[in-house]
C-alpha cells in the first residue's frame, strides 16, 4: 500500500507544480507518464523478475534502478529539446522586435528635416 501512496504522492507533487505554473503542462506530461508507469511497474514483482532476467541482472531490484536511470535520461533529453526550442523562439522574437525598433528609428531619421 505504501508503494501506491508514494506513486500517488509524487504524481500529486508534479501536478501541484504544474498548477502553480512552475512547470509547463506540455513538459510535465512525460514526467507524469514516467512516474505512473515506473511506479506501478516497480511494484509488480513479476515484471521486476522478468526485467532482471532479460537484462542479465542477478540482484533483481537493481533492474528497476537501471530502468529508472534510462527513463530519466530520456526525459532529460526531451526537456533539453524543449528548452532549445524555447530558446530558439525567444531569439526569433527578440530579432523580430529589434528589427521593428530599428525600422522605426530608420523611418524617423529619414523623416526628420535634417
Amino acid at each position: 500500500m505504501i508503494h501506491v501512496a508514494i506513486v500517488v504522492a509524487l504524481s500529486a507533487v508534479l501536478l501541484l507544480l504544474v498548477r502553480r505554473g512552475l512547470i509547463h503542462v506540455d513538459m510535465s506530461f512525460p514526467w507524469l507518464l514516467a512516474i505512473l508507469v515506473l511506479g506501478f511497474l516497480s511494484i509488480n514483482d513479476g515484471f521486476v523478475s522478468w526485467a532482471a532476467e532479460r537484462l542479465g541482472i542477478v540482484y533483481e531490484p537493481i533492474a528497476v534502478v537501471f530502468l529508472t536511470i534510462f527513463v530519466l535520461l530520456g526525459l532529460m533529453t526531451m526537456l533539453l529539446i524543449g528548452y532549445s526550442a524555447l530558446r530558439r523562439r525567444q531569439i526569433q522574437m527578440i530579432r523580430y522586435f529589434a528589427s521593428l525598433d530599428l525600422a522605426n528609428q530608420e523611418r524617423e531619421m529619414h523623416d526628420s528635416p535634417d
Binding site: M93, I94, R95, A98, L100, L102, A103, E106, H110
Partner: protein, 253 residues
C-alpha cells in the same frame, strides 16, 4: 489576451521601398556593447564624424545599466536587448537590419575601443571597390596568453583545412566588413555566441571573396573581456561542434 508578434496589429510595417532605398551608399557600422556604454557611445560619435555615409548602430547586449537615449548620436541607431544573448544574436539583428534598410555594406567594430575608428575606411574600401565580399581586419600585434595563443593556432589550422587554405590568418578578430551579398548568404546560418570563426569559414566555404587587411589592436582602456576561462572552453567546444557539422555537410566550394 497577450498579443503575439504575428498579430496583425503589432506586425512591423516593413520599410517602404523609399525608406529601404535611402541607404544605397551608406555603411551600417555595428558597435556591440556590453557594459562599455560610455566608450561605445564615444565610438559611435567618432564613426558619424568619420564619414556621412557611416551609420553607427549600437546594440546593447543587456548591459546592467541601459544606454543613454542619445548614445548613438543624431545620425545613429541603437537598440537594447532585454538579456545577454551574445554576439551571434547581435550579428543577426545587424544583418537583418542591413538587409531590410538596404545598406551598401555592414562593418563591425568592437565597443571597447580595441579597434581604431580611423581603420574603418581601409576596411570598407575593398567592398566599395567591389573587390571583396568580406574584409577581415587581421590583428598583427595581438599579444595574449599561451593558452589563448594555442587555441588561436588550433582554430586557424582547422579553419584553413575547412576552407581549403582561404581562411584569414586571424579567425577570432571582431573587426570585419561585408557587403549585402555576403550578409544575405551568411544570415541563413545560425550564429553562436562568439561567431567570428564561423562567419569567416562559412564565407570561404560559400565561395565569397574574402580579403584581409592588417590592423593594430589597441589596449582595452576600461572594462574587461567577456571571454573568461569558462566562456573560452565553451567557445572551444562550440567551434569543434561547428567543425564536425561542417565536415558532415561536406565541402561545398
Amino acid at each position: 489576451m497577450d498579443k503575439s508578434p504575428t498579430d496583425p496589429q503589432i506586425r512591423p510595417q516593413p520599410l517602404s521601398q523609399e525608406d529601404s532605398a535611402a541607404n544605397p551608399h551608406r555603411v551600417l557600422i555595428l558597435v556591440p556593447n556590453y557594459n562599455d556604454n560610455i566608450q561605445a557611445s564615444e565610438i559611435a560619435l567618432k564613426i558619424s564624424a568619420t564619414s556621412p555615409n557611416y551609420c553607427p548602430l549600437i546594440i546593447d547586449d543587456g548591459s546592467s545599466i541601459p544606454l543613454a537615449p542619445d548614445a548613438a548620436g543624431d545620425g545613429g541607431l541603437q537598440v537594447r536587448l532585454p538579456d545577454n544573448l551574445g554576439l551571434g544574436v547581435i550579428t543577426h539583428i545587424a544583418f537583418d537590419h542591413a538587409l531590410a534598410a538596404g545598406y551598401r555594406a555592414i562593418a563591425r567594430i568592437d565597443g571597447d575601443g580595441q579597434h581604431l575608428v580611423s581603420d574603418l575606411p581601409r576596411l570598407v574600401a575593398p567592398i566599395e571597390d567591389d573587390a571583396a565580399d568580406l574584409v577581415v581586419g587581421v590583428r598583427v600585434n595581438h599579444q595574449t596568453s599561451w593558452l589563448r595563443s594555442a587555441m588561436k593556432a588550433y582554430f586557424s589550422i582547422l579553419a584553413n583545412w575547412l576552407s581549403g587554405g582561404r581562411a584569414p590568418k586571424d579567425v577570432n578578430t571582431g573587426f570585419f566588413a561585408a557587403n549585402l551579398t555576403a550578409v544575405a548568404r551568411l544570415n541563413v546560418f545560425t550564429f553562436e555566441r562568439y561567431p567570428e570563426p564561423q562567419i569567416f569559414i562559412l564565407a570561404c566555404r560559400e565561395g565569397l571573396r574574402v580579403v584581409q587587411i592588417e590592423i593594430e589592436q589597441q589596449d582595452r582602456s576600461q572594462g574587461r573581456t567577456t571571454l573568461g576561462l569558462s566562456q573560452a572552453l565553451r567557445m572551444f567546444y562550440r567551434f569543434n561542434v561547428f567543425v564536425i557539422t561542417e565536415v558532415m555537410r561536406g565541402r561545398r566550394s
